[in-house]
């Protein structure tokens, strides 16, 4: 029971990190129609900036400054990179961000090297927060959860209560109408892009020291974030939240409990002593298939409900 609870807790944590990435991505996507392939690269940038800043002034200032810089970099990328490409259409924009992700990984390798950098959990929080039936839970993980929930609440208040938030909401569904009403849509685009990147940056700052800060961290997480926004329904923040938590929890439970998936095959009358490829499949455990699970969910979702959980339009 306690293992189950702890594992679910970790799953929620991972899910909230995914949500921080996915919320920015889905906002940018539904606002601008741009699938930001480099979104996870901004997450990585957040982690590296935080590492660099924390070597000078410690973790807490990094938590504040790094996301701001990442957001600024994002806004600059939108203004001077993406906006000129906009006239060539969405495919060109997607290609631009794909190239950007590629270049960012190379640049990060150039500056910080190919091996992981020692970006550690701050001393203050590197203790056990509580112990329950012999299992310890780290204070830093609680802190991560706190930050991500705070960000989540702030994001919803921002979208629902502020003037800019309402403008973004309006631009989500009726971009032409918003433009006709005289709002400066390109500037909204720029700051939304920067804002989304900053959210990814925060996730990088608080997640980088747990997940490991290395040049491949963007490419491992990026595709899963895409899965999250498709499953949640493109443009839906609630959908992104549910899908992120769902994937986070499933992933953690699958790895923790590592049960055999043979019963699934038994349903179809496959013998335990199968030959060839089937022998690989019947001997699999849930931990073994956990890397495939998000993509499997994506495919099933596309077949049975192409608009995602909360989406209003088919993908």
């Amino acid at each position: 029971m306690e293992v189950f609870l702890f594992s679910t807790f970790n799953g929620v944590l991972y899910g909230m990190l995914l949500f921080m990435l996915a919320s920015g991505l889905t906002l940018i996507f539904s606002l601008m129609g741009v699938l930001n392939f480099a979104h996870a690269s901004f997450f990585m940038l957040g982690a590296y900036f935080a590492y660099q800043i924390s070597t000078y002034t410690g973790f807490w200032s990094a938590l504040l400054v790094a996301p701001l810089i990442v957001g600024l970099v994002g806004a600059l990328v939108e203004r001077y990179g993406l906006r000129p490409v906009h006239r060539f259409g969405h495919v060109a924009e997607l290609l631009f961000t794909f190239g950007l992700a590629f270049v960012m990984e190379e640049v990060i390798q150039m500056i910080w090297g190919k091996v992981p950098v020692p970006y550690d959990v701050p001393e203050l929080l590197n203790v056990a927060a509580f112990e329950w039936r012999g299992l310890q839970y780290s204070a830093y993980r609680l802190f991560m959860l706190g930050v991500s929930v705070a960000i989540f609440v702030a994001l919803f208040l921002f979208i629902a209560k502020t003037r800019v938030g309402l403008m973004i909401q309006a631009a989500l569904s009726h971009p032409q109408m918003v433009q006709s009403l005289g709002h400066d849509v390109p500037t909204i685009f720029m700051w939304t892009f920067g804002f989304g990147c900053a959210l990814a940056g925060i996730a990088g700052v608080i997640g980088g020291n747990v997940l490991g800060t290395e040049p491949s961290m963007a490419i491992t997480l990026g595709p899963i974030v895409f899965v999250v926004i498709v499953i949640g329904g493109l443009g839906s923040l609630w959908g992104a939240l549910i899908a992120a938590l769902f994937i986070g929890i499933i992933d953690n439970l699958a790895i923790t409990f590592d049960v055999s998936i043979y019963p699934l095959f038994a349903l179809f009358g496959v013998a335990r002593e199968a030959e060839g490829i089937m022998s690989d499949l019947v001997n699999l455990t849930s931990g073994g298939i956990s890397p495939v699970l998000p993509y499997l969910m994506l495919v099933l979702m596309l077949i049975f409900r192409p608009r995602g959980l909360f989406g209003t339009r088919d993908v």
């Binding site: 060109a92 997607l94 631009f96 590629f102 498709v230 499949l281 073994g288 495939v292």
Partner: protein, 421 residues
């Protein structure tokens, strides 16, 4: 007769080059490179059936390349162990193509409902899934080790054993010509035209009464088939198939080739595949930053040259077809424009190389080679020169590019006037 000859001239020249090349280059390094080039030309053209012809941007087309490769490797091993019936090695790419066609039909059905961003995302999902499966389904993919195979199997018709790389070169050459011809012919069929229509205006195509999903699906399946042929040739060529052949890096590489070469023009992917294979083989030993350069070139092409390098060439076609003398007034602006671009590039490469060297060096040694010179990276001079070249080149570009564009527009205007009169 003369018209027929003129039409087929490009093909005849291509075949002639393919026949002459192995005689001219004797070294094994270049034969290996040419083999790789041939495989990638087929793959790039297959990919462009999706991207250029059908408007579907895929981040996972290596899946069909790699799966065919794995299948062929297993088939060759099966024939070697005499558990599978023999077919000549020359025909095996067809087998691999059919395997990929099967996968293309299955996966294409789910993913080709929409084009554009959605299609791209789904293709990425499938690519990641197959990449993850390489570590799970060990009997087929054999994890990170991949599958080793041997192309020297069965009887030896006409003494062809594919023991040497040169024999494989001709195998790839023949398949390359066949596949290119087939894919070119496809663009001329009504189906090929429908692909373009679906790319440009799917809504209108639906109104006319076509099923856009079915057109895309068919294009996807056929593209997978040709990617499978390329993957099979890859397996025969290197006699090993690893998990990297299905991965995102391979899909990204073919995307780079196609877009840098030019997706909108049939020959663009060929140009891209040749150019990038050349650079890849020759530069990856010299500089560690090769992938950074590749990414930067790609981004520059995305931002400034929608139809890639081939597009830049084709852009000038009306001029040389009307009157070569028109180039005279363009000569100086072009030399200045290209010259200032080169200065910028020299500066940028200098900065990147010095940075790379300083950040990745293992010893305290600060002396390195830059542009065939020995420079001390701890000294400020090489940095200053590089930055100066970069800035000066950039400023010069801002002056010379408008002039270059103006001279081009003037020439085109004259062409129009000539054609009209």
């Amino acid at each position: 007769m003369a018209a027929l000859l003129r039409q087929s001239a490009v093909w005849l020249i291509a075949v002639a080059i393919i026949l002459i090349l192995p005689v001219m280059v004797k070294s094994g390094f270049y034969i290996t490179m040419l083999n790789q080039m041939g495989v990638l030309i087929i793959f790039a053209l297959a990919y462009n059936m999706l991207l250029g012809q059908g408007g579907m941007l895929s981040f996972g087309h290596a899946v069909y390349f790699g799966l065919a490769g794995y299948s062929v490797a297993h088939y060759l091993n099966g024939v070697g162990e005499e558990t599978l019936p023999y077919i000549p090695v020359s025909l095996i790419p067809l087998l691999g193509g059919l395997v990929s066609l099967g996968f293309g039909i299955l996966i294409g059905f789910v993913s080709s409902r929409r084009a554009g961003t959605t299609f791209a995302m789904i293709s990425l999902g499938f690519a990641e899934m197959v990449t993850a499966l390489t570590l799970i389904v060990v009997t087929f993919f054999n994890g990170e080790e991949g599958i080793q195979t041997d192309r020297w199997i069965g009887p030896e018709p006409f003494g062809i054993t594919f023991g040497s790389d040169v024999q494989v070169y001709f195998l790839i050459g023949v398949w390359c010509v066949l596949a290119t011809a087939a894919m070119y012919a496809l663009t001329r069929t009504p189906f090929g035209r429908m692909c373009n229509a679906v790319r440009d205006n799917p809504e209108r195509v639906q109104f006319i009464g076509y099923n856009t999903h079915r057109v895309r699906w068919l294009a996807f399946a056929l593209s997978s088939f040709f990617a499978g042929i390329a993957g099979s040739l890859h397996a025969i060529n290197v006699e090993h198939v690893g998990f990297e052949t299905v991965g995102l890096a391979q899909s990204g590489l073919v995307l780079f080739m196609v877009w840098i070469g030019g997706a909108g023009i049939f020959a663009g992917p060929i140009l891209g595949a040749i150019l990038i294979t050349l650079l890849n083989s020759n530069l990856s030993d010299i500089t560690e930053a090769w992938y950074l350069y590749l990414g930067l070139i790609f981004m520059i092409i995305v931002m400034f040259a929608q139809n890639g390098l081939a597009g830049l060439i084709v852009m000038h076609e009306p001029i040389w077809k009307t009157n070569l003398a028109l180039f005279r007034s363009m000569f100086l602006p072009y030399v200045l424009g290209i010259g200032s671009s080169l200065v910028t590039a020299v500066g940028a490469i200098g900065v990147i190389e010095l940075l790379y060297f300083m950040r990745t060096r293992q010893t305290a040694e600060t002396v390195t080679h830059l542009y065939w010179m020995e420079v001390d990276a701890a000294n400020v001079l090489p940095w200053a020169w590089s930055v100066a070249a970069l800035v000066a080149g950039y400023l010069a570009c801002r002056q010379t590019y408008p002039v270059m564009a103006a001279s081009y527009s003037a020439a085109i205007a004259e062409v129009k006037a000539m054609v009209a009169s």
